[in-house]
Subunit: 258 residues, 5 copies
Amino acid sequence: MRQLDIAAAIGLIGSFVFLTGAVLLGGDLASFYNLPAVLIVLGGTLMVATISFSFRDILNAQRIIAKTIFQKSVNPEEAAFRMLDLAEECRHRGVLHLQNKLPELSDLSFQHKALQLVVDGLPSEEVNRILQQDLGGMVGRHNNSAGILRKAAEVSPAMGLIGTLVGLIQMLSNLNDPATIGPAMAVALLTTFYGAVMANMFFTPLATKLERNSATEVLRNKIFMAGAASIGRQENPRRLEMYLNTLLPPTQRVQYYS
Amino acid sequence: MRQLDIAAAIGLIGSFVFLTGAVLLGGDLASFYNLPAVLIVLGGTLMVATISFSFRDILNAQRIIAKTIFQKSVNPEEAAFRMLDLAEECRHRGVLHLQNKLPELSDLSFQHKALQLVVDGLPSEEVNRILQQDLGGMVGRHNNSAGILRKAAEVSPAMGLIGTLVGLIQMLSNLNDPATIGPAMAVALLTTFYGAVMANMFFTPLATKLERNSATEVLRNKIFMAGAASIGRQENPRRLEMYLNTLLPPTQRVQYYS
Amino acid sequence: MRQLDIAAAIGLIGSFVFLTGAVLLGGDLASFYNLPAVLIVLGGTLMVATISFSFRDILNAQRIIAKTIFQKSVNPEEAAFRMLDLAEECRHRGVLHLQNKLPELSDLSFQHKALQLVVDGLPSEEVNRILQQDLGGMVGRHNNSAGILRKAAEVSPAMGLIGTLVGLIQMLSNLNDPATIGPAMAVALLTTFYGAVMANMFFTPLATKLERNSATEVLRNKIFMAGAASIGRQENPRRLEMYLNTLLPPTQRVQYYS
Amino acid sequence: MRQLDIAAAIGLIGSFVFLTGAVLLGGDLASFYNLPAVLIVLGGTLMVATISFSFRDILNAQRIIAKTIFQKSVNPEEAAFRMLDLAEECRHRGVLHLQNKLPELSDLSFQHKALQLVVDGLPSEEVNRILQQDLGGMVGRHNNSAGILRKAAEVSPAMGLIGTLVGLIQMLSNLNDPATIGPAMAVALLTTFYGAVMANMFFTPLATKLERNSATEVLRNKIFMAGAASIGRQENPRRLEMYLNTLLPPTQRVQYYS
Amino acid sequence: MRQLDIAAAIGLIGSFVFLTGAVLLGGDLASFYNLPAVLIVLGGTLMVATISFSFRDILNAQRIIAKTIFQKSVNPEEAAFRMLDLAEECRHRGVLHLQNKLPELSDLSFQHKALQLVVDGLPSEEVNRILQQDLGGMVGRHNNSAGILRKAAEVSPAMGLIGTLVGLIQMLSNLNDPATIGPAMAVALLTTFYGAVMANMFFTPLATKLERNSATEVLRNKIFMAGAASIGRQENPRRLEMYLNTLLPPTQRVQYYS
């Protein structure tokens, strides 16, 4: 079950509300839509990304951008509390008690997998090795997608400039009717406008968001890894709390026992 | 009790005085205010920051910018003298004398905490570990906030450009009345102006200031740490003076004894 | 036998289709062709590259760009499966059986060379040393060519700007007939347009592609190296599978046995 | 006694002579002076620097810029010859002979201090430690000042742009009298001109000069340090010559004996 | 005896031929020459370089640029063959035979010096130390000169912009005669044109060339060093060939024996 990353959603919607508001205060929206301009900026950016990357990378990136906005809700502190709860329970009822809990935990696949491996009785190092490989794969996919977003943020203003040059050259080649100069230049500037909006209000902030959410997800999964390993070793949960607090940033440390 | 960072305050006020003066010498202020322009640049910058970061980060950043301007007055030299005074007193009257001094020191929470830990009798390494963690947390929060300021300094000129493109496209689409061209272009340029002012006279210098004040605060707190540890170990204060002088930059070294 | 890198081909063709489409929607193609403009941007970029590099480097770069688009089809997973197939066969029929297989493998020169060395009975370390040297040479040639493409991506917009300045200066020196201003400016802008298109739709994405394909080719050849070494040592192919999976990125791991 | 750094002085004067010459060939200087423009660029740059740094840093920077131009004349080769002369003399007449020489050497405070410490009979390591600390302090002050110059080189074109936007917005808001458009735009462009001149003909080259002179001064002082230590140890001066030649760049090596 | 670096010469001449051709196709060359514009860009760039560097650095840079274009012809492969020839000869006739060969080798001072040191009977390590110092000095001089070229490539467009601002401000201050606007703007743009041409068609590519030729010269001299050391040790030349091939890039490896 995924929840919305509210900041990203509000920011995306809010920035387009501000933009539309500013447009409507000064005129109507109609003069801001032009099909060839959309084609050259959106299509051109997509095509240049296709040259630079493979189809698989680009499809992955789209899926991962969607995940960035509809981000899971469990933050690192909650993850730490969940693992401490489980560790406390397992200290009293034994590790095999986890088996009954697993179905409840299916909303977070990484936590589920980590605990499943413990229940399966794999040794601590093997559990760590398998989860570390999963984590590395996730980081690689995120970096790849953030790289594609950053590339798109570079390419879209360039396509906007190219589109504006096309419009200006066409306008300047046919200066017969002065009344058409203004509207023609307006249309020519639309691609620059599209490129600037796409780069600065979409691609760049989403890339930053993706990198930050990826870091949070890595931290959360490291907490799940540490918790599962600790439960597998049947350690005292107080020790786990101390270790988790060294992983968590100072402002997010948990106080479960102390 | 916090005092004003006079350089930051004078700089901020002074730069706006110069700007307003330059405007007034050439015309009136009225033509430099336009609500849609304010909305698109300020609102857009805030919204893009919201996409990139979380609400918590942005609120923290605002609080930390305020702290940057209303910065505490104790500089590293003063901190060194304060710790040497205390060390000298404790050499004569014993460490427990600190307990009576603590209420006077409540204006600097880090110094207060460091000395409280010594009074509580914690071993030197434990005191260091706890304070180091606090210091790390502070540095992390400052870096985060400086990062948001630098991001805002990147975004605001981009939003200014987008606003100017909106204005130019609207003006060019409706060239019926030539008399309106000038004022319409003036309004279109306002967003570029707002973006340039925000980035260059507000966000970027505040980020630099924040980074420099953070470095000074780290140095000051390291001096408190070193002083508290030295008092806890009941060392000769001359030795503390020598150690503090290795921490202080050459132009700010203290001469307490020698 | 080489196959087309479909993403690069579609991207290159697609971006020019979008560009041409946008041009045709607003006018005709004729006003976008101008011989002096082509000469100054294309010729100038080539000449500046000639100053910066040697002829040999530039010819190599052209050959390697061609190879980037007509890229071999064997990806790392397929390479892993091919080596596991061969290892399995050799386990049953002996290493010398490779000699009969070699002619079938002539489509991939690196794999062919690796296995030839094993058939020739060279010791493992020697095989590795020779192949490592080959691999290093390939990486060096690719980096060199990517560097030339990146340089061309920097130079071509600069040549476009120089061409536009030439056109503007000529137009401004002869303002006698106002009717020629528009078309003259259109021609002047053509070089900026050519420069922007060359840099953003050709040189930069091809450089990125080249770097990514080079990384994939290195990975594939490392898999051939590891496979040949394993066959030479007559290891259990299950062990080879495990080792290859540590080389492959998590999303491309192979499941040959397990 | 300080001498002028002739290259810096000639460069600064020469570049302004070229600039003034170019201005005078095309018109008169009067149209290049405008008080509000000066206020907004100079004052704004100073105020933004004040926000970013402290008053102490900015005053230090001004003092150090002055020192950069009126730079001491002793270059590393001369420093090496001076130390070899002294070492030769001391070999014949003993270290205490230095005491008589010290008053003659008062023009270079670092050399004077180094030899004073040797005359005072401090052990070699102590001399080195004290001088190293002095050297570190000097490098820190230079880096700080170069950083302020680089910051000013970033800020001044931005203030120039802001000033030009102010001028353009004012001009466009009042287009009643077409005859005023030209002169008003000329004035608006003045701030961009001031910003470009300050950044490119003053702040940036002085920062580069400061960094280079700082490196030369460090080298020279290291030669004084090495010389003083060698004299203190009563080493053979030939050995000192060999060591100094490893410090000096190949084109400036000295041939005192060989 | 020095030979022309043909690529650099053709590139430099070719790019100016293309530029002149493009100019002549659209008008005459006369409108592209203007003395004040030349003065402000060329003179300004030279003066700013004078502020940043010393006279000695700038004169050295000019000498080294000349050497870059009239570059010696011996490339690393030829150097390897020459040293292998000599090693083979010396194996048969003894090291002292070199003495007769030295006069023939005077065209390459580094090779000559390396072999002279061997003939003089210096031990291998001493030969290496002396030559290494020479090599380090050469690299330092090249880096210095490349740095000056890169600086000039930064400064010249800035001086071009300053010149254009001067021209625009003068034109805008005197709009009395509309017929002069065009030519005045054309002249104003000339400095931007000169700055762009100097930076992109002269300084930047020559800096790249210088860095690449420096790397080649270092490699060639390392081959001479290795060869001289090997001859001095009277090693088997086959061993020298193997060692030289580890220094040479894969595409330039030599096959002297095998």
